[in-house]
Structures are given as structure tokens and as C-alpha cells.
Amino acid sequence: MKANIRNLAAGTAMLGAMTAGISAASADTLKVAAISGYFSQGFGIAIVNGLKKAEQDFDVEVKIVDTGNRALDYEEQFNNIAKDGEYDLVFVMGWELVDALQKSNAAYPDQKFIFIDGILESETMTYIDFVEEEGSYLVGALTSMLTEQGVEGFDSGSQVGFIGGRDIPVIRNFLMGYEQGVDEQSDGVSVSSVFSGTFDDPAKGSELAMTLYGQGVDVIYQAAGPTGEGVLQAAKVADKYAVGVDIDQCPTAPGHILASMLKRADVAVYDVIKGEVDGSAPVTAGPVSYGVAAGGIELKVCDDVADMIPEDVMTKLEEVRAGIADGSISVTLNQ
């Protein structure tokens, strides 16, 4: 709405000044700011989409601040946002901003900061925490069922693969959920896992993937950031399958990406704003979990491979999803 008004006004200063008047917020308008350096990339785009949707549906005004990549600027940018207490909620995404965020949080304790995809030490901030192990369980269920049945393309052996970035707790969570899904939803299928030791090396990801494929693994689930891009590319080269993570990676290697485990930042952001606006769940300090039940985690089966997945596998997968959502299947992290 607002963006449309602005487009019409583009080009003339006078009209520009007028829109500034039109969009001036009333007292009840919820003012939301979002700050990150990644608004042009997958996960950041999802955040922007969630904000835009909230702006359409509710009386919300959104300000998006791109931090750029110069560390010197971060503190100043946080202070500019928090200084006047103008914004009711401030969404923050990106680990490199943590230092500046913590300083600003200490200097402006009344400002509500919401950190996306991680939990920090401070107890006064709100955290959007995606339950990645639930999504990984679904991935495990899907890949192991296909392997167990020996569906065409998944009939080389009885192992499914996993490539992680560095061996750190959050990536372990992916692996544990995945292994649990494989164990509980199939018989005789096991996980062959490997950590690349880096998040920034697609070539290494590709190399490790080729090794796993060579050992008779037909499908690899990757949780390795840019390293994982190499895994997806290797799937295409080896004519095998891979599973994407975080965002919809199906278009990366069409026909060779089985599914993507999505962290729906758009759903989470929209949901947080909705809770604040209608008063059903005002923002409070501490972590808020977004898992399968809340729609924050989703397994998207890629359209171009959906045909080759047997009906009964899809049905079973949906049952598993419903089970996780209603709590009858519990994904645990201490296996």
C-alpha cells in the first residue's frame, strides 16, 4: 500500500513530501524496525516478506535498516534506531551484529530487541529460535523411507548421508534430529555422517559429497551454509540427490534436490508482530520456539521430484509431520 503510493510519487519532491505526511503514523501504529546485513539473501528476504505481510494486514509501520558490512558502523546504527524509543520492536539478524546489539541492549534496556535464529546470554532480549531438529527428523523420515523401499534412484544401498559444517552444537542438533528420524521411521537404514569443518568452502562440500555418493549413498542432507552449496552441485554431477536447508534450495540443482528443510523466518516474524498487535502474545523476554507446530519449520518436497515419491511415503510423511506437531512424536536431543 505505502510502497504503491510512493512509486506514484517518485520523481517529484512535492509529492514526496506529501507521502511523508500520509504515512505519518498515528499513535496506535506499531512501529517495527529490522536490522541486518543480509536482507538481499535467502533468509533475509524471508524476513522482509514477513514484515511486508504484517504491514499489509495490521496497522504496522516497518523500517528496514541494512547494516552493510562495515563493523565500525554497527553501534551507531543500533543507537540511531534505539535512541528515541521510536520503534516498538526491533528485529535483528546476523551474528556479526551481536556485539553492537548487546551494547545497545545495555544502553537502552527498554527497547525490545528480537534476535532471529539464535539465543544469546542476555535475559532481557527476545529470541526467535527455530527447532531445527524437528525439521531434520522429517528429512530423516523421508530419505530413509525412500531408501528402505528402494525407490528408483534410492536403491544403491542402505545408507543415507549427512554433511555438516563445523562440529558445533547447533549442527549436532540437525544431525541428532536426522538420525532419530531415520531410526524411528525405517528399518535397516543408517546414517553416514561427516563434518566438513568449515561453512565457507563449497569445493570441500562437493568433494565430501562425491565421496559419500561413491560409497553407495543416494541422498545427502546438508547443514553447512555455503559449503552445502557444493553438496547440492555434487548431487547434480553425480546424478544423485541432496536435501537443502534453511531456505528453498530446490532451484539450485533442479531434479537433484529432493526437498528443502525450511526455517520460515517470514512466518515467525509475522507471528511475533501479530501477537504483539492483537495482544494475544505480547513480546516478552526469552526464547520463542518455532517448530513444526507453529509453522516455523517446514519440509518442502521439491516440485520437480514430487512425482517419483510413492504415494504411501507422502502419506506417512504427513502422518509424521502431524505427529511432531501434536507432540505424539517427540524429537529429543540427548540420544
Binding site: T12, E96, I168
Partner: protein, 362 residues
């Protein structure tokens, strides 16, 4: 027909302005054109240019905190600018300030977190490490320029990429702080550059920058070595005929330029970030080179161009939050100024050349 006689070169030479006034006038014209050009861009995105520019000014100079913020942004540009000036005045180009800044920044951080030394001394040693690292980083381009006449523009530009990637590797793979973002362990407080105020991260580095600029100015104008360097800068062949050891001087000038570039990184690490992180200061080295070119190689001029750039950067941060104009408007603004100033330099050279109207090469 006869009225056109006014515009001939001879007629213009008759009322030529003093060089400093002409220079200042040129900068003003550049600024006005940039403001108009920037204003049009702002209007195209549907924002009020007056509001944007007043917010920009307020963001840069609106309060003592904001002025400190502008100076904080200007500090690395001043030092990097002096580094570029040193090369320019010696008739050379150091486009590798960015890389030297990264190497210096990392070296200072390394000394800061790896060793325990008494306060003060620790800082000095860390800064010295930055100077050495910057100097070492330009050693290869400098040696090849002095010994074989290899074009230093290309070799210094290329050394930037190596430095940025090398420090990334060291930060991510070798010295990464466990559990953190891609950064090293924090440096010891004994190595901190003292802050000037408690409301800003502005630090002693500003004075280091100012002292370097003034010191280099005095060196150029008051010492015979400085005169020698000036001669070399204005005409290298003539300097060689005059008995100046040009090859040796090329090496020394480039090493000094690189060393100061390294210092810029050290000051940034010890004064602001207190650790080294991957991609910690993108662009400051290049900003320094541009500031030096705009100041026509004058170290005193660099102080002003650098503060101007710093103020633009600081102001743009507020502008982005309070208006709908993106921070990138500033980049457009800078580009306008650079275009205008370089156009003037070309026009002046053409006018001053003794080969008449047809001389386009320089």
C-alpha cells in the same frame, strides 16, 4: 565572430586565478554539482531532498556525540590518506592501502591478544607491529617497482586481495575465538588506544592521524629530503639527472607509504574494535586513496577531505534510519565529487600543457 575571441586560451590566461583559489573554487563547484545530482537521485526515490540533506547534516554534526562519530569515521581515512599521499608526492601510486590496512590491523591484534606487556608499552609494540606488517606487505611491489620498473598500480591493487583473504584465513581458521563470529580473541586492555570521551569510541588515533599529516607536510616543506622527494614526484627523469638516487627512493617512499597504511589498520584495531574480525574495515583504504587524490596529494588537504568523507558516512547512518533514502545515496554523492574533481584535473592539465589544444594524452 569577433566576440568569440574572448574564449581563446590566450585571453583566458590573462585573468588566471591564483592556484589555491582556483583549487578551492573547483572543489566548491564539485560540491554544488554533487548536491544537485544527489538531490535529483533522492527525488527519484520519492524523498524530500531538503529533509534528506538536513538529516545528513544533523547526523554528521548535530551534537557532540555526532561530531565525535564523524571524526571516528574520519580517523582511518586520514591515516590511509596520508599513506596514499606519501606515494603520490613521490610520483608513485599506492592503491594497496586497503591490503596494508588489513595486514596492519591483524598484526596489531595479534600482538594485542598473544602477548602480555605493561600498559602503554603493549600499545606501542602493537602499533609498531602494524607499521612493520604494512611495510612488509608492500615490500614485494616496491622492490619490483624499484628494481625492474614493474607498474606498482597493478601489483599493489592485486596485493589487496591477497591481504584480505589471508587475514580471513588467519581469522577463521587459525586464531578464531571459540564459539564466536569470525573474529580473533579480544586484545588485552593494556594494548587499547585511549578513548577521548566516554560517550564515543573516538580515540587517540585521531591525533596520530593529525600528527602524521602535519608531520609529513613539514617534512615536505622544511627539509631537503622532502624537497628531493617533491622533485622526484614532479618529474622523475629530471630528479634522476639531478643526481637523486631515484631507485632507492622509490623503494623507501613505497615502504613508508605501506607502513603508514598498516598503521591505519593498527589504530582501527586497537582504538575501536579491540580484536580483528573478518572483513573488519572494508573500503577505508580505498577511501584514503580517494581522499588523497581529491586533496591533490596535500597532507593538510587530506585532513579536510577525510573529515568530509567521515562526516558523510556518519551522517548517512542517521539519514538511513530517519528518511526513506538509502545510505548508498552517499556513494552516488561521492562519485559525483570524484568525477567533477578529476574532470577539473584533466581540464587544467590540458590548459597548462604546452602542446596546445590537441594534447589529450597525459
Amino acid at each position: 565572430m569577433s566576440t568569440e575571441a574572448d574564449t581563446t586560451p590566450t585571453a583566458r590566461a590573462g585573468r588566471q586565478l591564483p592556484a589555491w583559489l582556483e583549487g578551492l573554487l573547483g572543489q566548491m563547484v564539485a560540491l554544488v554539482i554533487a548536491i544537485i545530482g544527489g538531490g535529483i537521485i533522492v527525488m527519484l526515490v520519492g524523498e524530500d531532498p531538503i529533509l534528506v540533506f538536513t538529516t545528513l547534516l544533523r547526523g554528521a554534526f548535530g551534537s557532540s556525540e555526532r561530531i565525535a562519530g564523524s571524526l571516528l569515521q574520519a580517523t582511518p581515512i586520514i591515516i590511509a590518506g596520508v599513506a596514499a599521499c606519501i606515494a603520490l608526492r613521490g610520483g608513485l601510486f599506492n592503491i594497496g592501502v586497503e591490503g596494508q590496512l588489513y595486514m596492519g590491523g591483524f598484526a596489531a591484534a595479534f600482538v594485542g591478544f598473544q602477548f602480555a606487556l605493561p600498559a602503554g608499552l603493549h600499545m606501542v609494540v602493537a602499533l609498531a607491529a602494524a607499521v612493520v606488517a604494512g611495510g612488509l606487505w608492500i615490500l614485494i611491489p616496491a622492490f619490483f617497482r624499484a628494481r625492474f620498473g614493474t607498474n606498482e598500480v597493478v601489483s599493489t591493487i592485486l596485493s589487496n586481495y591477497v591481504a584480505i583473504l589471508l587475514t580471513s584465513y588467519l581469522t577463521i581458521d587459525v586464531f578464531k575465538r571459540p564459539g564466536g563470529w569470525s573474529e580473533t580473541a579480544p586484545i588485552a586492555t593494556t594494548a587499547y588506544l585511549p578513548q577521548l570521551f566516554d560517550f564515543s569510541r573516538l580515540n587517540f588515533g585521531l591525533f596520530i592521524g593529525l600528527a602524521l599529516a602535519v608531520g609529513f607536510h613539514l617534512f615536505l616543506t622544511r627539509t631537503s629530503t622532502g624537497y628531493e622527494m617533491n622533485t622526484m614526484g614532479s618529474n622523475m627523469k629530471f630528479a634522476e639527472y639531478g643526481g637523486i638516487p631515484v631507485r632507492r627512493n622509490i623503494l623507501i617512499v613505497l615502504l613508508c607509504s605501506g607502513a603508514v597504511g598498516g598503521l591505519a589498520g593498527g589504530v582501527e584495531t586497537l582504538g575501536v574494535h579491540h580484536r580483528f574480525m573478518e572483513g573488519f574495515a572494508p573500503g577505508f583504504g580505498f577511501d584514503g586513496v580517494i581522499a588523497a587524490l581529491l586533496a591533490n596529494g596535500s597532507p593538510i588537504g587530506v585532513i579536510f577531505t577525510a573529515i568530509f568523507f567521515g562526516a558523510l558516512r556518519a551522517g548517512s547512518l542517521l539519514m538511513e534510519v530517519e528518511t526513506n533514502a538509502s545510505r548508498e545515496v552517499i556513494t552516488v554523492f561521492q562519485a559525483f565529487i570524484i568525477l567533477c574533481v578529476s574532470a577539473q584535473v584533466l581540464l587544467r592539465r590540458r590548459r597548462d600543457s604546452n602542446q596546445g589544444e590537441r594534447r589529450w594524452r597525459f
